[in-house]
């Protein structure tokens, strides 16, 4: 008679249908999104350094943001872009934005600018309080190849981008009188889901000495620590957690500057969901390993 003994609990648990795992992940991600629990992020040194650097930039220096990510990593990186724009407008610095590496980033920049300018303009009482295209910010758009952009911007930005994203001649924009090349920029922050920040180091920083910062996905953050440590990046926002930490610092700054508007902080909102997902994966690893050791001992 054939052996029809049912496998024990641990063996069955190891061979569990992966759809159960998917279901658990779905639940632990969705429930905290709907019923979030409060997490107060504490800024890590790379985030604090980037925030401090931008916050204390001289008045005549602008921030340049290179959007080097596409919609697939938008959920993780868009809160960084939003926070950087809010910060710049809060401290009344000028900002130039470009879709650095990918043409797909164009819509991301447009979406972020619409949101943040609407937030600031809805609270503006005077023209000086408003955030205006061409005066307070410029959206250069995208051009190719990337080597032309990174090296060319060090000489004359208007030559690399003769017209902005909306088709206006860049030379005719008032902001461009104060933003001719990297010398007029306090720092360039590359928000990236790939290895593009490395190109900014190799081409823009090595040639022109511009200060750099980066915002990156959590999964690639480990790659950038050598550059943070060497000082090539003034600071770094690593993943959703980095965005949440920056949002926390920014909120304190906005309150201090009389801009206590209670704006949505999507990075911080998603932290509870991310924390729950991390805990679920830790639990999976523990259960998987317990099952593995028990099964191995029984076989021996």
């Amino acid at each position: 008679m054939a052996d029809t003994a049912r496998p024990d609990f641990w063996t069955r648990l190891q061979a569990i249908d992966r759809r159960w795992i998917y279901l658990v992940v779905w639940v632990v991600v969705m429930v905290p999104l709907i019923f979030p629990f409060k997490i107060r992020p504490v800024a890590t040194p790379p985030v604090q350094n980037l925030f401090n650097y931008i916050d204390t930039m001289p008045e005549n220096k602008a921030l340049i943001i290179s959007i080097d990510y596409t919609p697939d990593t938008q959920a993780e990186l868009q809160p960084m872009l939003i926070a950087l724009l809010r910060h710049t407008f809060t401290i009344h610095r000028k900002v130039g934005i470009l879709a650095g590496a990918y043409v797909q980033s164009l819509g991301i920049g447009e979406d972020a600018l619409r949101q943040v300018t609407a937030e600031f303009n809805s609270h503006a009482r005077t023209n000086a309080d408003s955030v205006l295209n061409g005066r307070d910010y410029v959206y250069w758009g995208w051009t190719t190849p990337i080597i032309t952009v990174m090296l060319g911007m060090g000489q004359r930005i208007a030559k690399v981008f003769p017209v902005d994203y909306y088709g206006e001649k860049t030379e005719s924009l008032p902001i461009m009188k104060h933003l001719k090349n990297y010398d007029d920029a306090g720092i360039l922050v590359s928000v990236a889901g790939s290895s593009i920040p490395l190109y900014w180091i190799n081409l823009a920083q090595t040639q022109f000495g511009i200060h750099l910062g980066c915002g990156t996905t959590a999964v690639s953050a480990a790659d950038w620590y050598p550059y943070v440590n060497s000082g090539q990046f003034n600071g770094m926002l690593a993943g959703m957690k980095g965005a949440a930490e920056y949002e926390e610092l920014l909120e304190q700054r906005m309150v201090k500057n009389g801009k206590d508007w209670g704006l949505r902080r999507k990075g911080s909102e998603a932290m509870s969901s991310q924390a729950a997902a991390h805990l679920a994966i830790i639990a999976f690893i523990i259960i998987g390993n317990i099952g593995y050791f028990i099964s191995r001992r029984r076989k021996q």
Partner: protein
């Protein structure tokens, strides 16, 4: 000649591309600027034509031969043309209109609407599937089978716990310890790997420039 000309072109352009980084003479810098701003852009424009031509050829061949899932090729071709026409002639949105009308009544189909309602959800959905696969892989494959795997497991454990509030509640210095793992052992390993990669790139580049490595010419 068929092989010598491309090799010569690579040698000359490769050396010329590197020289401006070492020689700051204004005449060389001026030529370099022209090459970067004009010549490279023209080449990039040609590559766009090549790319669109290639994708169209691939999908029309699939449609013609009715290979598996050939119907989806129509979707690619139609999407390519529709988004290109709207992007080129439809403006960005109602506040920046183009020459092509991109709304019917209140229904708008300008490029930003298409982008936010089609491109963004599709790309985000594809990427978010990773979380499910990672969780499943962590459950099935992340085992402390030997010393190396155990060290990896312990490091991952500390990093994951260190990045959630529970980690700080369990052991207050845990987030700092997680940060230390990233900034010291991880960084040391990454630096070593980076040095290796960069030396490899340098060696391979020199081999290509000098015509020792000819794999890029094709023909096996």
């Amino acid at each position: 000649m068929q092989r010598r000309l491309p090799l010569l072109l690579v040698l000359v352009t490769g050396i010329f591309a590197a020289l401006p980084f070492f020689i700051p003479h204004h005449s060389l810098q001026a030529v370099d600027e022209t090459v970067r701003n004009d010549v490279l852009r023209i080449i990039a424009a040609f590559s766009l034509v090549l790319g669109v031509g290639s994708i169209l050829q691939h999908h029309f061949t699939k449609i013609q031969r009715k290979t598996s899932n050939w119907q989806y090729s129509w979707i690619t071709v139609v999407t390519l043309f529709v988004s290109a026409v709207i992007g080129l002639f439809g403006g960005i949105d109602p506040s920046h209109p183009g020459i092509l009308p991109t709304h019917i009544g209140h229904f708008s189909f300008h490029i930003q609407t298409l982008y936010m309602n089609i491109m963004v959800p599709l790309a985000a959905t594809m990427f978010s599937l990773l979380a499910f696969f990672m969780a499943s892989a962590a459950y099935r494959a992340f085992r402390a089978r030997n010393l190396s795997a155990t060290v990896l497991l312990a490091a991952a454990f500390i990093l994951m716990l260190g990045s959630v509030p529970l980690g700080r509640m369990i052991f207050h210095p845990l987030p700092s310890f997680a940060e230390w793992i990233l900034t010291v052992p991880n960084m040391a390993a990454k630096r070593g790997i980076n040095f290796g990669i960069q030396l490899g790139i340098l060696a391979t580049s020199l081999k290509i420039l000098l015509g020792i490595e000819r794999g890029w010419l094709g023909g096996g």
